[in-house]
């Protein structure tokens, strides 16, 4: 038996473990992350099964009109609003909107951010310079103001709002990816791929990108929380989606902001929904970051 074979025999490897499986394990053991998952699952279920869960039609008047609508009471889990509509049903249906907006706007932001970030990071030179200066410009304007500006230009349709909120996310993703790529570009394994003769395109797709994505996954999750809050904020200033069929949490909040004293429930519960939803997403995002962080692997 050659020395090589003898040495091979001495090497005992453990059960095969993919990188993702390790990450999943770590995620599962993180109590914060699990709480986050629980919260989000609740909201997802609410959104998906809204018609089954909500006891009433969110648009219909089911109780008396009142200037001082009643809070949680018999038959109305979270109370009524001043138009006699059931608050619980409205919040449950509102989940659809919020989650949809969060998802779509982040997808928009990720897509463009990925493209710009990859171009800037990999090509460098004036492409990098130009793209980054545009990103800098966008970042210099506070997100909400930019969103307001975009919505004023694009209009108040649901799709336009998602687009606007998505666009303000682009610079963050672009920067993140660019930074990641710059870091990986000089790595030895990239050099090794070049020395083997792997063409540039393939190096980017097979080697660099997969190793640069991790921070974006985390940021993507966190961005969803931000998106939901941004949309709520837009609604609050009166620029939310106009469709009265879908009661957006921010809109509900906005409509009832001046009723805090008398009918606190109308402000409290939509606000709580926003907070819990964002919290859940943040917890998941943090859990993901800890799970994926390569520093934890030795």
């Amino acid at each position: 038996m050659s020395i090589a074979e003898a040495e091979a025999a001495q090497i005992s490897l453990e059960r095969p473990s993919g990188l993702w499986r390790d990450a999943l394990d770590r995620f599962r053991r993180n109590p914060g992350a699990l709480v986050g998952v629980f919260l989000i699952v609740v909201f997802i279920v609410a959104a998906l099964f809204a018609p089954a869960i909500a006891p009433f039609d969110p648009q219909k008047q089911v109780g008396p009109l009142a200037t001082n609508p009643q809070g949680p009471s018999e038959g109305y889990l979270l109370g009524l609003d001043e138009q006699g509509r059931d608050l619980f049903s409205r919040i449950v249906f509102g989940a659809r909107l919020s989650l949809l907006v969060g998802l779509v706007s982040v997808l928009v932001g990720l897509t463009f951010g990925l493209v710009f970030g990859a171009l800037a990071g990999y090509l460098g030179g004036w492409v990098d310079f130009t793209i980054m200066r545009v990103m800098d410009l966008m970042l210099s304007i506070p997100g909400l103001l930019l969103a307001i500006g975009l919505v004023s230009i694009l209009g108040r349709g649901l799709f336009q709002i998602m687009l606007a909120v998505g666009i303000i996310q682009v610079p963050i993703f672009a920067r993140l990816l660019r930074g990641s790529i710059l870091g990986q570009k000089e790595a030895d394994y990239v050099l090794a791929a070049r020395s083997v003769g792997v063409p540039g395109r393939k190096i980017l797709l097979v080697h660099i990108l997969p190793n640069s994505i991790a921070p974006l996954i985390v940021q993507g999750t966190l961005a969803m929380a931000t998106a939901i809050i941004e949309v709520a904020a837009l609604s609050f200033v009166g620029l939310g989606p106009r469709d009265p069929r879908f009661p957006e949490w921010g809109t509900i909040l906005a409509e009832n902001a001046n009723r805090l004293q008398e009918s606190a429930h109308l402000v409290l519960f939509p606000g709580l929904a926003i907070v819990l939803c964002a919290l859940g997403i943040n917890l998941i995002g943090d859990g993901l970051r800890e799970a994926i962080d390569p520093k934890l692997k030795s």
Binding site: A6, E7, Q10, I11, R29
Partner: protein, 337 residues
């Protein structure tokens, strides 16, 4: 009476995955002015030993047994405040990477005078003068001007000199140097080792030199302890250790390292396999799986350090290397040629 006396030191690291037994019962004495080398590969526990002695283990590490006696006190039982007095003043430490052990945002002068004002209660002017003198002693030219420089303005070798200056500032009784030259170029390494030798003599301090490089201990240390998987496997005066390496691991190390002065020969004799996982407790000798001399007893009982050859040459082995397997003295051939 020994200056420092370590008895049965045990250190464990508690992580979510497993508990790592990094140091498994280490004992040694250090006499005043003695130079002791602790040699071993990465992960054997040599650095952890010194960190544990000074109470600066990372968060997951804990001393789970033993004592460290210094000047009548057990360092492991001292309260933080008292320990901080000892640390830096009576026992000083120099680390491998000067870039991370020096504060990058403070001027060098400030970092040195801080040590002086805190431990020796010097006033500002005296501490500055002393700092200049210290930098001069460690071979940094234009010391006065360099007090105002930041760490990044020094080269690796210079930074290490600064670290050494800070370490000897309070005339410590013991200097612990943990891989002080591993990150440096060979010619700079020679300078730093020469500096350490000189300072040890000038200050009359004891030195514990921790390294993986057998050549370094050969040149600096009077006595050498070989560490493997958390335990000392052999300890002897350096000359004796290299002449008669009785522990198979020591022998293996010597045979597997290419020597600068050896004529080019055929294959190196590597030690097969790999160092063991420190999270597992093996019933017998940790080196047994890789040892050519292992017997059933080796696998079942952990050997204790016993005297062999001379009373200050201790080996922890059931089947120490027999005379015929000891290496021939390459140095004799070299000296002749």
């Amino acid at each position: 009476m020994a200056l420092l006396s370590v008895t049965d030191l045990e250190v464990k690291f508690f992580t979510r995955r497993a508990t790592v037994h990094a140091v498994r019962g280490v004992s040694f004495d250090l006499e005043p002015g003695q130079t002791l080398g602790i040699v071993g590969e990465s992960g054997c526990g040599k650095s952890v030993t010194s960190l544990a002695m000074l109470g600066i283990l990372p968060r997951a590490g804990r001393v789970t047994g033993g004592e460290v006696r210094f000047e009548g006190h057990n360092l492991l039982e001292l309260r933080d405040a008292r320990l901080r007095d000892v640390r830096g003043k009576d026992i000083a430490m120099v680390f491998q990477d000067p870039m991370t052990s020096l504060n990058p945002s403070l001027k060098i002068g400030r970092q040195i005078t801080e040590v002086l004002t805190k431990h020796l209660k010097m006033d500002k002017d005296s501490s500055e003068r002393e700092a200049v003198e210290l930098l001069g002693r460690v071979g940094i030219p234009n010391a006065r001007d360099r007090l105002d420089d930041y760490p990044h303005q020094f080269s690796g070798g210079m930074r290490q000199r600064v670290m050494i200056a800070m370490a000897i500032a309070c005339h410590p009784k013991i200097l612990i140097a943990d891989e002080p030259t591993t990150a440096l170029d060979v010619t700079i390494q020679a300078q730093i080792l020469d500096l350490l030798r000189r300072l040890v003599e000038e200050e009359g301090m004891a030195l514990i030199l921790i390294t993986h490089d057998l050549g370094v201990v050969a040149g600096v240390c009077e006595r050498t302890n070989v560490m493997y998987a958390g335990r000392f496997v052999e300890t002897a005066p350096t000359g004796e250790l290299f002449a008669r390496p009785r522990h198979p691991y020591t022998l293996g190390l010597l045979k597997s390292v290419p020597r600068l002065d050896a004529a080019r020969k055929e294959k190196l004799d590597p030690i097969g396999g790999a160092p063991p996982e420190l999270s597992l407790e093996s019933p017998g000798c940790s080196f047994a799986p890789r040892c050519a001399y292992a017997t059933q007893e080796s696998r079942e009982r952990i050997p204790e350090l016993r005297a062999l050859d001379t009373k200050d040459h201790l080996v922890a082995c059931w089947n120490p290397v027999p005379d015929e397997d000891l290496p021939t003295r390459v140095s004799d051939e070299w000296a002749a040629g």
